[in-house]
Amino acid sequence: MPSAPIRLLHVEDDLDILEIAAMSLEMAGGFDVRQCENAADALRVAPDFKPDVMLFDMMLPEMSGVQLLAAIREVPDFAETPVIFMTARAQPHERRDLIERGAVDVIVKPFDPVKLGDQIKGILAAS
């Protein structure tokens, strides 16, 4: 019996990247993806969607990915939910900083769409 799909909440303000990520994860299989263009939408959608993992862009309008992480951790249901950042800003100190703030890992842009699904599954397995 196939295992339940991984519910993934993806927050990204670039519509093209949203579409590519959706196609990548569909191709990989095993994901139930919900996408939002900003942090406010993500905070509204999350309680009903109950994601298993969240994938945040860093530079979001109005509220950054880091601020979204802090906000979502305030919601009791998501205090421990794995958060992965997807960002072009991934110097070692930036990566360390995100992990210290509670992210499980960082995926560097540009990402490989063929490997994205496996990459996320690998991070979840290791966390």
Binding site: D14, D16, I17, I20, A21, M23, S24, M27, M59, A88, R89, Q91, P92, H93, E94, K109, P110, F111, D112, P113, V114
Partner: protein, 546 residues
């Protein structure tokens, strides 16, 4: 009606004795001066307006003379430096003003070649003067007189052939007006105009009494200086908080030419400044200390703005590249349907070039970080051989594409160095991919590790086209690539070796390159072995690493 035309000729009598010189004028047919004009000419000459003459004023041979008033002569003698030479160019007469300004004693300069007064950089004016005199002309222009103890005087000079009382040539007459002050003023004026445009405070200080000699607008505004009377301003009394004894020592070293410049930190009204000090010894002006103050708060703000720009550019370029690469990658994977070979070939080209753009963006950002000292390093004591193996494995597919084989030759199974594995991986990838791109198909690339007690030498050798000797000097410069025409085929950015050098040097190591055109290239990076214990000590030894 025009008076009989006069030619003029200056001759000085009795100047060697310091007595009043006499001006002798002669009538000649082609100088458009009447008797009154001649008198004016004498005065203007004595007032230093000889410079108004055209550079090469024709003069006829001198015949009998007319003695002018002794007042003219006195005026000229007080104003100008006068030298007479014999036909061999030896000094036979000088006036007192010459002695006063050059510091020579009469007895030590008489009989010496006039060339002892010449400045080595005045070859052109002296050649012009010699030519003019040889063709019967006079010469007027600017030159320098080198006085006793190296004193340099800028002068406006006139040289004319001299004749004796019988009209026979007897040497050269040289009349010089001292224009050093004018030169200084002009230099200061030019400097003022450009320095006033600077937003940074700049001032100049005399090296003899530390009197302020110049302040630009920004400095005058900052220190509330009245530039109408700068001589009363002593820079030493500025309320700058700094290590004064240390600054004094540095100034002494500067004046002794032990150092070329120095900088010190100072606080003024609570604002931190960096003061850069240089000694200016331009020949046109007297030596001065040139001080530039830089507001460190503003410098740091500018640094932050640059960081932000780099981060923004990074983000703004990578975001569309993510979409381009993502879309192409998905199509290539077949998710959008079956592809014909032709479409796949075209997609491969697009994908490869999107990759290349990503590399260029990454390389430029890396270089910016290296230049700003902001490259981030995760330094750990680890096995370099392991990282080399990983780098070789990561580049094997690339090597296969070029039909070459990478071989690792290491005496030891492990070699511990304190380094950032990602960055050294990046260095090796750069070196190996370079070697692949320029190697003939079927050849080997050798990655060799040699070691001694203190250091490890990792060399990457190819049997490729090599680098011409004249290109070796610039090979580590940005955007340098041998054979630029081949860049698109080889796919490099020309930034790789600059990055390699920057990263390796940040690790306290060195990069050496040797190459023989047509035979191949070896790039060797040398890193210090990590101590067997206390890796933390090694970490702290790597200055400037985060």
């Amino acid at each position: 009606m025009r008076d009989p035309i006069l030619s003029s000729r200056l001759a000085l009598r009795s100047i060697s004795t310091g007595a009043a010189a006499m001006l002798i004028w002669q009538t000649q047919p082609f100088m458009h001066l009447n008797a009154t004009s001649a008198s004016i000419f004498a005065l203007t000459a004595s007032l230093g307006l000889l410079m108004c003459l055209p550079p090469r004023q024709s003069l006829a041979p001198v015949g009998g003379g007319t003695t002018r008033s002794s007042r003219d002569t006195i005026a000229l003698d007080l104003h100008a430096l006068v030298v007479r030479t014999d036909l061999q160019g030896k000094i036979r007469q000088v006036n007192d003003h010459f002695l006063a300004l050059t510091g020579y004693q009469r007895e030590e300069i008489i009989g010496r070649p006039v060339s002892v007064l010449h400045h080595p950089k005045d070859v052109a004016p002296h050649a012009e003067a010699s030519h003019a005199l040889a063709t019967g002309d006079s010469w007027t222009g600017e030159n320098r007189i080198v006085g006793r103890d190296g004193i340099i005087l800028w002068t406006r000079a006139t040289a004319l052939s001299d004749t004796d009382a019988d009209g026979r040539p007897c040497g050269t007459l040289l009349v010089h007006s001292d224009i050093s002050r004018t030169k200084e003023s002009l230099a200061a004026h030019n400097a003022t105009a450009s320095l006033n445009r600077l937003t940074e405070p700049v001032f100049m200080v005399s090296t003899t009494n530390y009197e302020l000699t110049f302040a630009n607008d920004a400095a005058a505004a900052l220190f509330n200086w009245n530039r109408e009377d700068m001589s009363v301003i002593r820079v030493g009394s500025l309320p700058l908080e700094c290590d004064r004894p240390a600054v004094s020592r540095q100034i002494e070293s500067l004046l002794a030419h032990e150092i070329g410049s120095f900088a010190f930190e100072a606080l003024y009204k609570g604002v931190p400044y960096r003061a850069d000090v240089q000694l200016i010894e331009h020949t046109d002006i007297r030596p001065r200390l040139y001080v530039v103050l830089r507001d460190q708060v503003a410098v740091k703000a500018a640094g932050r703005a640059k960081d932000e720009l780099v981060a923004t550019v990074s983000h703004e370029l990578r975001t569309p590249l993510t979409s381009i690469k993502g879309a192409l990658g998905l199509i290539r994977s077949g998710v959008a349907g079956e592809l014909t070979d032709k479409i796949r070939d075209l997609l491969d080209i697009a994908y490869r070039n999107a990759d290349r753009l990503v590399l260029i963006v990454n390389d430029i950002l890396d270089l910016e970080k290296l230049a700003a000292g902001q490259m981030d390093y995760d330094m750990e004591r680890q096995d370099l051989i392991q990282t080399l193996k990983e780098a070789i494995a990561a580049n094997e597919a690339f090597a296969t594409r070029f039909g070459v084989t990478i071989r690792l030759i290491a005496e030891d199974d492990s070699a511990f160095v304190c380094y950032d594995a990602d960055r050294i991986h990046q260095v090796m990838t750069n070196l190996i991919s370079n070697a692949c791109k320029f190697s003939p198909t079927g050849t080997d690339i050798e990655v060799r590790v040699d070691s001694d007690e203190e250091k490890l030498h990792v060399s990457v050798t190819d049997k490729g086209i090599g680098i011409p000797a004249d290109a070796l000097e610039t090979i580590f410069d940005r955007f340098t690539q041998v054979g630029k025409a081949s860049r698109s085929r080889q796919g490099g950015t020309g930034l790789g070796l600059s990055i390699v050098k920057g990263i390796v040097e940040s690790h306290g190591g060195t990069v050496d390159l040797s190459s023989i055109e047509g035979q191949g290239t070896t790039v060797t990076i040398t890193l210090h072995r990590a101590p067997a214990e206390k890796p933390a000590a090694m970490l702290s030894a790597n200055r400037g690493l985060h």
